[in-house]
Symmetry: C2
């Protein structure tokens, strides 16, 4: 951190405010542009910094290392451990508000900061629902939000019992609206077969992402794997979905909220591959249902900032909540080039309680394709090729070293012809990865 940045002001009790000279009406309180502190140095923070530059916002980063994606682009970087309260406290001292590019800050630390008067947005009582899938499922179910059937499980026998009950319920009819499975003895002695009658999805309650921390299991042996790490595990019905959707919303502390168009998210190997905005062929009423659902969740949980609600669209025409992310999210990257206001700009506006920007699309279709690392560490020649092939291509690189399967960037394309827009995005992402050589 540079010395002159150490002077970044934070005046307890008078956020954004300082006495700063004479106005035509004499000395007056002068509001200065605020400092937003973001915890986490990944690409989401990198792109939030980018969006903060035109807003005139001062962006401060707490990054695990100086080599992370955002640390390579941001002006004001503190290298430190987001799991350490003293580090967080020191970081917060230079900021008017704290927000996040991931969910990994311990909830108790956030409560401590909030108790000390630091504006934490989203706050811990909202964020815990994005940090703990068990808490999220319980809360959404209580609020009547449709979810896959689920239960926090203690051991493989518990999983087996859950599978048996799921099978019985699925035979009886569609999912209960409250999402809970009907009953559970969970004593581990239920007479279930070693091969489950239906597959079960197991998820670590905390910390999973991009397919990590998720298993689809069919036997007790397979079900034993997640428990070996000694973590809490949530069991869920494997939903027979037609496709995955995402409804992204932004909410501010004073309760203003905006909803982005509902998108289709195409996953490959548990990792988001392509996002299409808006979701092709989505029934207009169902799109509104999904947007209202996301807005209702944001309000119920007291979310501040951007929230992505990942949804399953089932073959029988329902939408079920898969995951929540309370931060900018991969399913919203298309907004950088495809919406009037990007998710990153609106996240900053929300955490600062500024009026939100228009979330509407600027193009008939926008497609985002993630760029994953391939076998070749050199992406620059491919990058040059992609620029030459498609002068309208919007490339977003994260400054990361290329490793196989690692998200190192994304591309956005837009236009009136969906087939063309998809082809251009897929080609660029494939060419950058090295799976297409033309």
């Amino acid at each position: 951190m540079r010395p002159w940045r150490r002077a970044a002001r934070r005046r307890a009790g008078r956020p954004h405010t300082a006495l700063r000279g004479r106005t035509p009406y004499g000395y007056a309180e002068v509001v200065t542009f605020p400092v937003v502190g973001m915890v986490g140095g990944g690409q989401l923070a990198r792109m939030t910094h980018e969006a903060g530059i035109p807003l005139g916002i001062r962006f401060r980063l707490l990054s695990a290392s100086a080599q992370e994606s955002a640390a390579l682009a941001a002006s004001d970087v503190v290298v430190g451990d987001h799991r350490d309260l003293a580090t967080l406290r020191e970081f917060a001292r230079g900021c008017d508000v704290i927000t996040f590019d991931h969910e990994h800050v311990p909830t108790e630390h956030l409560r401590a900061l909030e108790a000390e008067g630091v504006p934490v947005r989203p706050g811990p009582e909202a964020l815990k629902h994005a940090q703990d899938k068990g808490v999220m499922r319980a809360r959404l179910t209580q609020a009547g939000v449709p979810c896959p059937r689920h239960r926090v499980v203690r051991d493989p026998a518990d999983v087996a019992a859950f599978a048996a009950e799921l099978a019985a319920e699925l035979a009886a009819g569609p999912a209960a609206d409250d999402g809970t499975s009907a009953s559970a003895d969970g004593d581990g002695s239920s007479p279930v077969s070693p091969v489950f009658p239906v597959p079960v999805v197991l998820k670590t309650v905390r910390g999973g992402y991009d397919g990590k921390g998720v298993w689809v299991v069919r036997t007790r042996d397979e079900a034993a794997v997640p428990f070996r790490a000694g973590v809490q595990v949530l069991a869920e019905e494997k939903v027979d979905f037609a496709r995955e959707l995402a409804a992204c919303v932004v909410r501010s502390p004073h309760g203003q909220a905006v909803a982005y168009p509902v998108v289709e998210s195409v996953q490959v190997g548990g990792v988001c591959d392509t996002v299409i905005a808006p979701a092709p062929g989505l029934d207009a009423e169902r799109a509104v249902v999904a947007q209202e659902l996301a807005l209702r969740i944001a309000q119920e949980l007291g979310v501040v900032g951007h929230m992505a609600v990942e949804l399953f669209e089932t073959r029988d025409g329902r939408v079920l909540v898969n995951e929540l992310a309370m931060r900018p999210h991969n399913s919203g990257h298309w907004t950088q080039d495809g919406a009037v206001t990007s998710q990153f700009a609106n996240h900053l506006r929300a955490v600062l309680d500024l009026p939100l920007g228009d979330p509407r699309a600027r193009a008939r279709w926008t497609v985002m394709a993630n760029v994953l690392g391939g076998d070749y560490p050199d992406m620059y020649a491919a990058y040059r090729h992609c620029m030459a092939r498609d002068p309208q291509l919007k490339i977003h690189m994260y400054g990361k070293d290329v490793k196989p399967g690692r998200k190192v960037g994304h591309v956005n394309t837009y236009g009136d012809d969906l087939a063309d827009v998809r082809e251009r995005a897929a080609h660029a992402a494939g060419y950058l990865r090295g799976t297409i050589s033309e």
Copy 2:
């Protein structure tokens, strides 16, 4: 500068290239993403850094102070004097290419750097035409580019002689196409009246901007003012223009070039107030003439990067070149929200010899209005108000302290209805300045 940034590589003779480990085909040259060094820490550098983030480009800044607009946003800042060759040389060591946010680096320093193998873009032999208005006028006139009548003048008597000749020529008919005035004795003893028959524009040959370094004079006494600073002075015909236009182009070292739509630039008090893209009511053929003129100038002068050609559209239907700027320019700020590829992104692509992005407009109309400082140092409350009034408004703040008349930001608006788009931009700029209270 942070220690880990000191490791930024530059390999003399092998730009962008390093041996970096094993590929599937054994050890190979691996091209890494380049470092662009920009000299000058103003808002143009700030916005170029912003545009470089999605491109994955590493941006290095040479700024006169740590408090300048770009230094508040960029990650890699060297504080130093751009007039000092040793500073420039040390700065260039960490960069793959050097470019500029202003024209104030001494030409001889740029020649020295180039001679030492530093890629300087635009190079000194192009840039001198943007640094020295006398050199620019001579070169454009030689190339047959229509310019106002002009002459480098030595003293007030010389100005008086120029005014007399101008008056005679104007009485005789329209401007000669070669732009030079017909004759000049310039001995200071010509029998001219103390009040000139026509007004004359005097400009400092070097260093003027935003109306600074420009005088309109009608007497010898007035004409004496610019000479007092001991600088070289250029005298020009005061063109009776209908309006001002700007034709912006981008050219790369291998000769690819793109032309942005021609815009109208509305000046107030010598400072750009509003830019309208495209120029309303501009004859399509005349727009092409202006674009071709700018492309021809870029090629003739060997420009690399973005160049703005400021033009007078005369009442009798001609376009004359007013000024050249070889860098991102105020008349191109509308491209951030109104074009497929912004001037900043294309400037970076050009100086790196990457294929250029599509310069076409994304909206029927885009209007940019500059935000000048007013009497109130607090702009945050007005900023909040503007966001609430117009959720589609695109605000670009420069992080500068507010001083009366200082450019501290700009706004962009776009849409199908020009009157509405203009009103929204003008309102936001006026409200932020404090001249509109609603």
